[in-house]
């Protein structure tokens, strides 16, 4: 079989500032085109894993490796990883006052493509993608995430995903804070992007089975205390829904 798109081995990471270890030996393999879900209790390290993949400077990797397309990305800056095709949809998207969505998006796209994108092509594309996500065109002129509702922020993340065309999309609780209609629109957007570019792999962090009703995962992982405690098929999510996490915590503690 071809090499996995993402291969994480024995990943240990701590908070750079105080040395607190958060990730304690994560192993994970994700092939091109696959969809994996990561579930797990609050504080188990899911967001930390996503940020470490994206290269957040607050964390220091102390052991293990992250291979992307067969090569370690630990030495790459966050923007280099992004240009290589790694995308992180934030659990808490950041507000950038005074910078419009359009300006931000165009700067990002220029950086991604390494060339000045034609302004008219860009506008057409942005408009089409916003339409797909049922976003009011007025959002293009608004400051990035500034004063956006929780749901609007999440849609804006998917808009960026659509525009930047990554090969690996890590989505951190993109479903949380969405009402039922918005969840349908956002998951519809993700599925649409996925159908356009089936090679894109998705790492979906979520607390809820309901998102997995819209996006069917190939594999479900459960993260407990900084490790993948268990992996299985889509049915594992259902089992978690029923049984909670305690049994896994006990197992993890027993290791």
């Amino acid at each position: 079989m071809a090499q996995p798109l993402l291969k994480i081995t024995n990943l240990h990471a701590e908070i750079a500032e105080d040395g607190t270890e958060i990730l304690r030996g994560v192993d994970l393999e994700l092939n091109e085109g696959q969809i994996h879900a990561i579930m797990g209790p609050n504080g188990s390290g899911k967001s930390t894993l996503s940020k470490v993949i994206a290269g957040h400077p607050a964390y220091e990797v102390t052991d293990g490796d992250i291979l992307y397309r067969g090569e370690s990305i630990l030495g790459l800056q966050p923007d280099e990883r992004a240009r290589a095709g790694v995308f992180l949809a934030f659990q808490y998207p950041v507000e950038i006052p005074g910078v419009s969505v359009a300006n931000f998006m165009r700067t990002a796209l220029n950086a991604k493509r390494g060339e000045e994108v034609d302004i008219f092509d860009f506008q057409d594309e942005l408009e089409a993608r916003m339409g797909m996500l049922e976003m009011d065109p007025a959002f293009a002129a608004r400051s990035v995430n500034d004063g956006f509702s929780g749901g609007e922020k999440k849609r804006n993340e998917i808009l960026q995903l659509a525009m930047l065309e990554p090969l690996l999309a890590v989505m951190d609780e993109t479903d949380s804070g969405l009402d039922i209609d918005a969840l349908r629109i956002v998951t519809g957007g993700i599925n649409r992007i996925k159908s356009e570019r089936p090679e894109m792999a998705v790492l979906l962090i979520t607390h809820y089975q309901r998102m997995l009703n819209y996006i069917t995962p190939d594999v479900v992982h459960v993260m407990v205390e900084g490790r993948i405690a268990r992996s299985g098929g889509a049915e594992l999510a259902l089992e978690l829904e029923e049984r909670g996490y305690d049994w896994l915590r006990e197992e993890a503690g027993a290791v």
Binding site: A54, G55, H56, P57, A58, Q77, P78, D79, R81, A82, R83, F87, L88, F90, P93, V94, E95, I96, P97, G98, V99, N103, F104, T107, A108, L109, A111, K112, S143, Q160, L164
Partner: protein, 453 residues
Amino acid sequence: MADGTATVGPVAAVGALTRDQVEILTARKGEPEWLRAGRLKAWDAFAAAPMPTTRDEDWRYTDIGRMLKLEGFALADEAASVADADGLPAGLRAVVDESGETSARVAQVDASVVLREVPAELAAQGLIVSSLETALREHPALVERWLGTAVTDEDGKFAALNSAYWTGGLFVYVPRGVKVEVPVRSYRWITAAGTAVFGRTLVVAEAGAEVAIVDEVASDDFDRPTLSTSAAELFADEGAKVTYVSVQRWGLGVAHLSTDRLVAGRDAKITTLYTTLGGDLSRADVKCRLRAPGSHVDMLGVYVAQGQQHFDHETLQDHVAPHASSNLLFKGALDDRSRSVFRGLIRVHPKAQRTDAYQTNRNLILAAGARADSLPNLEIQADDVRCSHAATVGQLDEEEIFYLLSRCIPKAEAVRLVVFGFFAEVLDQLPHEGVRRELLRAVERKLARRAQA
């Protein structure tokens, strides 16, 4: 600056500032007696005033005596008039070419106004745009009535110096009810290192008049200390709307000291924007007087300091009359080892009930060696008022930067974008879209220097 120090030190004395020179200046220009007397009185005030020290509250963080030696500057030369903008020095022409929509314009090179263009249809409505020297000849009564009434010899040593020595100058007069929709432009340019220029601006908007003025100063970088001392007086009569945009883009080597006084009459609205980008040392003393009820003043400021630049802004929102309002927002970004000082005061006089006055200064520190001091202040002698002030000095938000990085944007550009966004809040308040875009570009260009460094 070439030698990498922020001190504007003495150079070999090419010429000295003296009372005799004031006499020579006023005689050669054949000025009326009232002006001659005024210049000499200003000279005496200048000579009598000691150089400010850090013991003076106004100069606490700007050690002017150490940064500026007033000896050794040569008076800037007089320059010959040009037929059109093509005749301007190349550097100035580039500045002029960057300007968007323009109604009338005046350009000063060194000591002289060399270009003046006023569209016939505006002149026909009574709009006057000229050098102040020309106005003295063509409209002596108007100039005598207003000049020196807002900037006086009590406004400090450097204002007095300017009143003694100004040449060229800008005069804008908008008659009652005349609305000039497209901005009036003034440019001032220095060609020679080691010289001293004394720019002067006088703006009078009669009742119901509307005008926007972009007053821009610029030069190349100089390898020797060069001095700019300027003063502006602006009067907005009843119901007038005046926008005054100062753009300071001097090259390195220049020390810039300005004293501006703006007066708002009944129901008048004044918007000012100070854009401070250039020079080694820049000190702007801007005071707005809300003289009559219903007046409103927006005071805006944007500054970007790099290297060892030292910028000092001193502001006053002077509420003399009741039922007036003012709103100040100054924002600055400080890089490398630059310094900024903001001292702002809202003063509400006993009769100024129902005053609404706000003041905010925010500073973004981009490098560990940079520093901003912010000293907002209130002095309130009326009881029925709403006033507030706020000041912050902060660093770049790492989460914002990471967010942009994670969207493929390289670090230097991410920083620029965040800083740019930081200034948008100020520039968005400028009523003129075209001018706003120009200023954004000027700020962008200044920030671009950062990436190269």
